[in-house]
């Protein structure tokens, strides 16, 4: 059975194709349109998924949308009416009655498929299904904590595979009690875009939680382990299509004016001004309250299910510090986070659930890895690279980057991958910044070894150059540390077997004091790093590169960041990577088996 899952019209439009319980392909539309968080109908992503499966749209057995738009409409209508704000009401109704409500019609028309093939899956079940099905567990409790679904904002579920993929919903925390929306509001206060909660909470490492009591007046913990949101602090209708700020005068009076996003980025605590310190303290307080709230939800879920394993998902769980806290303090023995815990992952989950309904014995593929995107043809890469003309780059170089007039490029092709890995390790040891593009691109927001920017983790200068001259991302955001499984215990506190979130960059971990100097560029201000503990079976090529670097330097670890520029999606194709290579001070680019390098004439 071939099932296409679609999430669209809100954020991170994504398509996923499932065949008999196996995930054949999944991709976010942003990877093709280059518009970050693209919410539009995932035309190119669907095209890619159908190509990967060798199907035409009308040959699909089922198409499933990740939420029930008619149910969500009732909530939007209710919120719009409650706001007593005619312009807001008109904007919301235009968006909903214009397109969003008619998801079945839109899909049927865009793909030219029979409407009877199209069905809807409740939002929280779409998320829960992806988390549980891709986990390695036979049974698990599933905690979904997102922004907003139909009427659900969080859900306590459990999953088991006995003879098929089964999910039970124990409890729903309904709208308006949404941690995701509160985090979005605070994100705006901290000077970040509303959807950039993870970036905003990176400030938390620089502060102390002295505003925790004030924030607990917004996110109110309950004795039963749940929480309530006091909506009098926020304009909830601002989260609809109405635009405007959700921050009320009361909120701004309590927490201060919106932070100036142009304020200089900081790399250490001592550099913070008093004003910046206040915002860092608010972020730390928010992170603290969030972690406590999630822990209480976990305890409640554990009491209900008695499960030993936990799957967590939803956009709120894209928070490595919170996941690390759950690993350390929740009552569950093992924790799993799917590769894309946001709306994109819901497309996979919806399709898996629809597939499981039709084939009750299908258990869903246990596939925790994120490599579900498009791979690119090497012959085409080679042809494109032959046409590179460095002389023409001067007109579109990024501001502040070195002049390339006196530079040339060299191209090396390798038949043997091990030789390429050794050659790339040599580049990295020399302090050069390497763009690494291999095979299929990742689901989710993180580059995990197939679309990565890499440097030597001992070199803070290389990291600064990477941030200033390539990604233009503020230094306050932490870097990830990719490390071969065999070397992980030398650097990270803890021991093998490493929990899943530590293998896929989803949880922070403390660095052993004696190892800090060896990976100092990847150690955050709070003494943690974001590890990707890479086993050979997880990503053989990336593991080979780590090993080759370890043979040269004594530690098989690299500073790794997502292959993208700030405010752009992760690169997808070699053409995207070459554009960054041409525009920025990226020194070396490895595309599959080809190494391209800038050199002085």
């Amino acid at each position: 059975m071939n099932v296409l899952g679609i999430s669209a019209m809100e954020r991170d439009a994504t398509a996923a194709l499932i065949r008999d319980g196996r995930v054949i392909a999944s991709a976010a539309e942003e990877r093709f349109t280059r518009q970050r968080h693209d919410p539009n109908f995932p035309h190119y992503a669907v095209e890619f998924c159908l190509d990967a499966a060798g199907l035409k749209a009308h040959e699909l057995d089922a198409i499933v949308f990740y939420q029930e738009p008619h149910v969500r409409f009732t909530r939007v209508l209710s919120t719009s009416l409650a706001a007593l704000d005619p312009p807001s009401f008109v904007r919301s109704m235009k968006a909903w009655l214009g397109e969003k409500l008619w998801a079945r019609g839109v899909i049927s028309r865009r793909l030219d498929v029979h409407p009877d093939k199209i069905s809807y899956v409740p939002h929280h079940l779409s998320l829960a299904a992806q988390a549980f099905a891709s986990s390695p567990f036979e049974e698990a409790a599933v905690l979904v904590v997102g922004g907003e679904g139909e009427w659900d904002c969080a859900a306590l579920c459990s999953g088991y595979r006995g003879g098929g993929l089964k999910l039970d919903t124990h409890e729903i925390l309904p709208y308006p009690h949404s941690l995701g929306l509160v985090l979005s509001a605070f994100s705006e206060l901290l000077g970040f875009q509303r959807g950039s909660v993870r970036d905003a909470l990176d400030l938390a490492a620089y502060g102390s939680p002295r505003f925790a009591d004030e924030i607990a007046r917004v996110i109110q913990p309950q004795e039963d382990g749940t929480y309530r949101i006091d909506t009098s602090w926020l304009r909830m209708e601002a989260f609809l299509e109405s635009g405007g700020s959700p921050l009320t005068p009361r909120f701004l009076e309590a927490f201060g004016p919106i932070r100036d996003a142009r304020a200089p980025a900081v790399a250490d605590r001592d550099a913070l001004t008093d004003g910046e310190q206040r915002y860092a303290d608010i972020a730390a307080s928010l992170q603290h309250v969030l972690e406590e709230t999630l822990l209480k939800l976990c305890r409640r879920l554990h009491d209900r299910t008695g499960a030993r394993n936990l799957c967590v998902t939803g956009e709120v769980m894209d928070n490595p510090r919170a996941v690390a806290r759950l690993l350390a303090d929740s009552p569950f023995e093992r924790v799993f986070v799917p590769a894309d815990p946001g709306e994109g992952g819901a497309a996979i989950g919806a399709a898996l659930l629809r597939d499981a309904e039709s084939a009750p014995t299908t258990q869903g593929e246990r596939r925790p890895d994120p490599y579900l995107g498009r791979a690119y043809d090497e012959a085409r890469d080679a042809a494109m690279i032959e046409h590179l003309q460095i002389g023409s780059w001067a007109t579109f170089r990024k501001e502040g980057c070195e002049d390339v007039e006196d530079a040339a490029i060299t191209v090396e092709r390798f038949e043997d991958f091990e030789t390429l890995a050794r050659r790339t390790a040599e580049e990295l040891e020399a302090g050069r910044i390497v763009g690494w593009l291999q095979g299929r691109f990742e689901s989710g927001s993180q580059g995990l070894g197939n679309r990565a920017l890499l440097t030597d983790p001992r070199s803070e200068a290389a990291r600064s150059r990477l941030r200033e001259r390539v990604t233009t991302r503020a230094l306050l955001h932490p870097s990830a540390l990719a490390i071969a499984e065999e070397a992980a215990a030398e650097v990270l506190e803890g021991e093998a077997p490493w929990q899943w979130p530590l293998r896929w960059g989803q949880a922070t971990a403390r660095v052993r004091p004696e190892a800090v100097e060896r990976v100092k560029a990847a150690v955050h201000v709070d003494g943690t790093t974001l590890p990707q503990v890479c086993a050979a079976e997880d990503n053989p090529r990336f593991h080979s590169l780590l090993t080759a670097f370890g043979e040269r330097t004594g530690l098989a670890a690299l500073l790794s960041e997502t292959f993208s520029e700030a405010n752009y999606p992760m690169v997808s194709s070699p053409a995207d990577a070459l554009l960054i290579f041409a525009r920025t001070d990226l020194d070396t680019l490895v595309i599959n088996n080809i190494l391209v390098k800038k050199v002085s004439k």
């Binding site: 009308h58 040959e59 699909l60 029930e68 008619h70 149910v71 409409f73 009732t74 909530r75 209508l77 209710s78 009416l81 109704m93 235009k94 009655l97 214009g98 409500l101 008619w102 079945r104 019609g105 049927s108 028309r109 030219d112 498929v113 029979h114 409407p115 093939k117 009427w151």
Partner: protein, 68 residues
């Protein structure tokens, strides 16, 4: 007249999809204890339907699309 392959969208599906979606909205409103807002929803859906039909006429669509 060519025959469309099985599994493709039948001709004239727009109307049946709209009716089905409207029915789902009514059911969802009753299920969400929002039956009191059904008259408003009915007016909104009717308005959307009328505008949708008007948008099909090329001479009118430039004036109708901004409203959708």
């Amino acid at each position: 007249m060519t025959t469309k392959p099985e599994g493709t969208r039948p001709r004239g599906a727009t109307f049946s999809i709209a009716i089905r979606s409207a029915t789902e909205v009514v059911q969802a409103m009753v299920g969400s204890r929002m039956a009191w807002a059904l008259p408003l929803a009915f007016v909104l859906l009717l308005l959307a339907g009328v505008l949708g039909v008007l948008a099909l006429f090329p001479a009118l669509s430039p004036f109708v699309y901004p409203l959708l």
